[in-house]
Chain length 292, copies 2
């Protein structure tokens, strides 16, 4: 971490799942000392075998010597953190998280620690658990931080240096702006994809359903991928970014109704133009990465 | 084509785009003579260079000696075929099509030719045009035929043998059943995916939109893939399978509203259960092909 390395002798990671474990692997490659805190001794053993941190324990005291602590926990645990965890965080350390919604997290954490910085590394989440962590997960992916007026400048710069060390693209924005953007590009897509699978589940004609199963192809697979994913993660998104998602859903329902009205009125030229606009717009969201 | 080969000395293909061109390449590999009819001489030249058929022409007379003729045309041209084409089809030949809706095609073609068989090979459509055809496009993909009471049995068996020769999985069903199933697994997904892109296009806050573009990732890419595809193909689906799609859309809107109501009521357990049902149901549609 260049000139900043001296200020980061030891980084603590709370939770060694996909995100926490991947951070642990990368930081060790960079020669940084990593302490990992986990809930269960069975997890500690697995994490040790995978080498996700140099020192791994279920005892929060392990965080005592850390300069920077990354809370890589599920949203629920970030929003209602245990007293044991909060009390184990040194006042001098910088604290950050990796949660996918930011306003509710700040509401809790700005009171709990004066060197807290909200952040959200935008990296893949198809795998989960202590076996999921892998090297270079964050490389060339956005790392969003959501500083507030009272956020400590030095703490923010520490998290910035962390993101650069992991190869991420640093972005700062307001928490509310982040939550609206991810509602549109991540949470709403999950919801509309889920409703599509549910529609098939609701099909009343067993012959149509059976034929649909035989004929479904890559288009159906793509459109339903995130709606058929991890149910707890999906529920957690909907439960903790509710108002931004409901607003996005409302706008989406309006768009569906416009297509419906155009179909009922046989306005095929209008539909053609809408689809042409779509074809032109989509690359502005996905063309930046050739894998998409 | 095994014992049936003698009855198929020459197969005619009308249109040498992705579907027609791919059929032409495979049939030649099997040692069958292929005549290709195209609209423009420039296309004929390109198709000749790619070897999509042995004989390629813009003159419908080329179909005169064919035992089986495959109409591999866009839906619009299938639904309002030119007189020149209809008159060039030998009465003794078996005629089939490859259109993605079947009831409207049968309505037109059952009057035009007594040995017509409606069919729909379910193969990829991301590429288009005379450069798109490739070998083995239909291998292990469903080939749906939609015979009616008056469909000629021998003609149906000829199309069956064609599908087997191309390595497809033969499925027969009623045209209306086919159109309902593809509305659910292909046309509705395109529509809901298109409405998602439109929702982003409608976002009024330029800062949120700009951030959304930076943060969009594989989930957004997957969910918008078919809604950002070929506008003419999308419009054509909506225009020619309208009633089945509107019915599917109605059911879909109901599912979205159920999620919305559950969110407003904070019924997170109910949502979690719905998402668990989705996760269990999706593989019944997509697990048959390991590439999905």
């Amino acid at each position: 971490m260049g000139q900043k390395r001296n200020s980061l002798n030891c980084i603590g990671i709370v939770g060694l799942g996909l995100i926490g474990g991947s951070i642990g692997l990368d930081l060790q490659t960079l020669g940084i000392k990593v302490h990992g805190l986990v809930n269960r001794s069975s997890t500690a053993k697995q994490a040790q075998e995978r080498g996700l941190a140099q020192v791994i324990s279920t005892d929060p005291a392990i965080l005592l010597d850390c300069d920077l602590i990354i809370l890589a926990l599920p949203l629920e645990q970030l929003l209602t953190p245990s007293n044991a965890l909060v009390q184990a965080l040194p006042q001098s350390a910088v604290i950050t998280d990796v949660g996918s919604v930011k306003a509710p997290i700040l509401k809790v954490w700005r009171k709990l620690h004066k060197r807290f910085v909200g952040s959200h590394p935008m990296a893949g989440t198809t795998d989960a658990g202590v076996e999921a962590g892998r090297l270079e997960l964050f490389k060339q992916r956005p790392w969003v931080a959501t500083p507030e007026i009272n956020t400590n400048e030095e703490a923010l710069e520490t998290v910035h240096q962390l993101s650069l060390a992991l190869g991420s693209q640093w972005i700062t924005t307001k928490a509310e702006m982040h939550d609206q953007a991810v509602a549109l590009i991540s949470h709403l897509p999950m919801l509309i994809s889920a409703a599509l699978i549910k529609t098939l589940g609701n099909e009343g004609d067993p012959l149509v359903l059976s034929l649909a199963k035989k004929l479904a192809s890559s288009g159906f697979a793509d459109t339903t991928r995130i709606g058929g994913g991890n149910p707890s993660l999906g529920t957690s998104m909907l439960a903790h970014n509710t108002s931004a998602i409901l607003q996005a859903l409302n706008s989406y329902q309006g768009c569906l109704e416009q297509f419906e009205t155009a179909m009922l009125s046989k306005h095929w030229n209008q539909i053609q133009k809408e689809l042409e606009k779509n074809q032109a717009l989509r690359p502005e969201f996905v063309a930046k990465n050739l894998n998409y």
